[in-house]
Symmetry: D3
Subunit: 247 residues, 6 copies
């Protein structure tokens, strides 16, 4: 099967890291197509980045649908644009945050999330409520590592994430850790070994859930909130050309 | 005070109707500046329309901030882009759905919402959960009237909305009705008289709440989820020029 | 418009402070009529004070209705007697606790409440659940300052409240502070300046919400729980003349 | 043991009926002292009646404490004044609504409540949330029988309650019925026989729970919300002498 | 009345302690029949012990029903097998955890539970959610005392439980303590005296609630989840003879 | 990988049907080992069947662990014994009810469950609450088809399930259907075609989720509620030899 993995930000090194994690997780017959929008925020840190990333993300999802991919993964832990992507697609769409919470709840009674900046904490908390898994999450913790610092070798980013995991184990009664950023995809295995409990990373989790749903021959239900968008006679082509620097 | 009222869709007749409702509700010293984005969906019916409307909406909010308005109103009942707008603005931002729920809860123990298409029902239900007022809402009902049909004289739109209000009164134990679309802004007074219970319309409610919050000299808190967006060295100017027709 | 602001306790200095805050918040055309019951508890600290204050409060609300006021404010942060007052009145009735929570939720993702004695904490927590805004409240904190100590110059009351605000900012991830007593009405502005985040005080918030609801020409819905009280053939005039000292 | 059973309304025939139900439920060694306030509403139908009944109720509770009773029962299904009574008393205080919900949850997975007027439905629903048993309640139904009509022989009151029970069994998936008014205390046994499922009546339930709690030598905790009321230097004797007819 | 009190583990000294607590709590006319299964886990510490204890527990409940007892108590704080026992029995069945939560909520606004091992904490937390009383529970605390250590004189078990109670009072804003193990049945009175707040122990609480429900002539509703088990033509006699040591 | 699929009842034809569904769903490299306990209930219809099935189920899980399987599936829609199995196993354990809810939530905003007997409805509703997905479930419906009737050719069982699906689509605003019994595993594909929306069956869903979790190299967390059972010095071998016919 062919899975489209969209990194909704425009940082190519992160797309490459996500692609590697997705391919590592994918089964033998799974082809991973990893892309990012041409334009948009370089990282998704908060609501404005998230909102500005969605049109480009939808463009990629639309292109994937046209190309006949079997499933889509949105590789931002905030699950940015997930509902809109589902409305646009017929193939299943899985968000990496969502995937990580579902998988964590299958192997641990309680988990804590360790993410990047504190401004992402409320976004993740809302998603947990919406997906129904808030009661399984002990706490969402910020390591105060900027997303793009995870891309830079030689920073203290990795150890700051590790320090926050240690805090979660000590104080949260957490039985597993969920890494709260696509840019942490390469850290899960070593942290699991180091801390001796399940460490779940969303890109791999989403690839496996996408394989599962595609394998079940299920498609996104086209009634309700995810119905195919209304096609209007006067549908204006979407374009924001202003160049306004909102990020 | 000057309030920017943004209709996040691009239908000018609807912006005019919203402007009229806002001016009717505004106090003597309140100046209403009603705008809509230059490009974007002609109506917001579901998640894709909502997502595609946000960049244009944020551009207007950003312009309003630059012009020093005292407060912002987002005139889409789905409260599209509300969090992103709050992150972008320092002045208070009020969504019309949010405003209607808060006001309804002050005059009625239980209310029902009557909106346009059934695809909007889950979006409104999620918002009610997020704003905390779900327990006060008896039911969200769809009249199956398309947003733009509310703009066309001579259609049955108005009577279909009325019929759904009658159902809500008969079956939901509702003590008030919330009209679930900015395009219904001109219907509240006559329905209130006809049905003999409070009928709350969001544009007027949001203008009054914006006046209240501005009058209290309060601004959006800049910690937490609504912190000012991160300004990155490599911040790419946002532009989607593809012209892909996603709506 | 004319707003009746009822301090449900009998401490005149507190009524004067409340009147000042209400007038400071009121718009140009708003006349504030501030009263307190002739008899009843001198302060409302817990359930018994609250219960004993309600008959006198209702008497004032009834007098206000008879005098044709446009709206009522109940100036006790516990929102004592709010439901009964709404059942008695046709004009809108706003509680100051309720008003503060609604306003706080419009400018901050999360807020903490700082109130007087710890016995009031569960009452406030219950109200937050009832109004639907519990999920937005990080924590309700007691400063252990007695209500009437806020009336005495030269006490450490003010600084103890400030110290608790500092704790809320440090530990609760609060983006705004709600002051949890009508007797703190004069402290909001200086604390906002001192701590650099929104500090919401209920008297001002309730006056603005009352203006908003009256401005929307809305009245309390007379179906459901707030229906006009049943008038019985044998309705005994209410009087507790026993002089039992329950407070 | 001696239990004070307070009917918070002033209708003596109802107090007599409550006393009979309480004595029928009480164990051999239990003495029932059934009283009602001297002044106050003749029936409790809605928030205003409830609020006006509380001072008289508290006077009776205070007298019972002074007389050294072992426990108190508040015989109004709305559990009017329960928190204030607990703050005033050292002996346990049990509300009949509360008691009925707890007992029902021990013998049935789901129950429906059948009460008098629809204005009482939201009050009961709120109590169910506060006591934590809302999830066990399928539905609160109004029979639209006025409280005092239950006192009049020859009315259709009894059959209207029965008709509503039949509806609850047919539509609510209810495994038990809770009778939602102290004035229905004499109906439980015959309805249980007629409908073939547990029918719980609050007066009997509360007497048994009071016996249980007293038997466990437990008293109301005097920390938190139910702490002994603050005794103020300037504590005004409580008296509402106005004779204002608010009911 | 005759009450069957089943200790679902096979430790006779614990059954004896439970019997003593039950008899101490029972009223004059109450006969306590205390039993434990012949085979099964020696203590219930976690889900596997709980599951393996249920068949033996049900055998005792079935024997009690056959012998015509008036009510059943399940004397494990995890309320192991409570639903299955209710489906099997016609007489009321009360769990000691459940009983303790209900009783605690009648005398305290908030309580904390102090149990044995941390692996029992999530089980108790789930039960609190199911019984609806989670909102009244401040925190479930583990003393890390093994169940059977409570049976051994001279250990530090008692003082470790006391130390955890002290923590609960200091940090949880708890107005009462619930002892979270049947093996703590002999500790409640001395802890209540020592700490000066209500200390609730489940065996006594369950005996009193069973007396109450039996006294009300109520039986377990036989519709819904607790309907009498389906009797199948091919019903195989239940026997696990493997001797597999799963504990 | 090798997955152990345990049908916890003793009906061999149902085990065969489950095995076929599991093999149909399994990927190329997945070996399905389908078993059922030697003794226990022939079907799981309610709490007693569920409780009596668990020791036999755990014996199979224990044998699977000893044989080194990579994952376990519990093929009863009530998710009987799921927590105990997780405590016993190191390999991941997936329940088919749980799996169906998670998968349904990935392709549909709202789903309804159609199960067998009404006595299973509360069990399923509780599970939905525990797994956090209750808010996504519109309604749990009973078709009143006995489990074993699904095994008999020529009955009306299939059409009664279909009729209930039609009701769910008409009345529940459901965007997908979850089939609520392992014995319906062969019906999903034809119902999906017939009704034109996603129909999720738990056996296939659980096999795919087990493959996903095993593929992620995750094991059940051994802290918290699912810690390895306590091994006691006096651990009695578990055996219920009584032959008491409790089913």
């Amino acid at each position: 099967m062919r899975l489209l993995v969209v990194n909704p930000n425009t940082t190519a090194s992160m797309t490459a890291k996500i692609a590697a994690a997705a391919r590592d997780a994918g089964s033998a017959g799974t082809e991973i197509i990893a892309v990012n929008p041409r334009v948009g925020p370089a990282a998704i840190e908060g609501y404005v980045d998230g909102a500005l990333a969605v049109p480009g993300l939808l463009e990629e999802i639309g292109a994937g649908e046209a190309a006949g991919v079997d499933g889509h993964v949105i590789a931002c832990f905030d699950d940015t644009g997930l509902d809109a992507a589902r409305a646009l697609a017929r193939a299943p769409v899985i968000g990496i945050g969502e995937a990580a919470y579902h998988v964590a709840s299958l192997v641990a009674g309680r988990f804590s999330v360790v993410t990047t900046l504190s401004r992402s904490v409320p976004i993740i908390e809302e998603n947990l409520v919406r997906f129904g898994l808030a009661a399984r999450c002990a706490r969402v913790r910020a390591s105060e590592v900027a997303v793009l610092d995870l891309e830079k070798p030689g920073t203290a980013a990795r150890e700051r994430v590790a320090a926050e995991i240690a805090e979660a184990i000590r104080h949260d009664r957490a039985d597993a850790i969920v890494l709260g950023c696509a840019g942490m995809a390469d850290l899960a295995a070593s942290f699991a070994a180091r801390f001796g409990l399940p460490v779940i990373e969303g890109v791999a989790a989403a690839v496996k859930l996408a394989e599962a749903v595609v394998g079940l021959r299920l498609a996104t239900s086209k009634t309700g909130a995810w119905a195919t968008p209304v096609r209007r006679a006067n549908a204006a082509r979407f374009a924001v050309e202003s160049g306004a620097d909102l990020s």
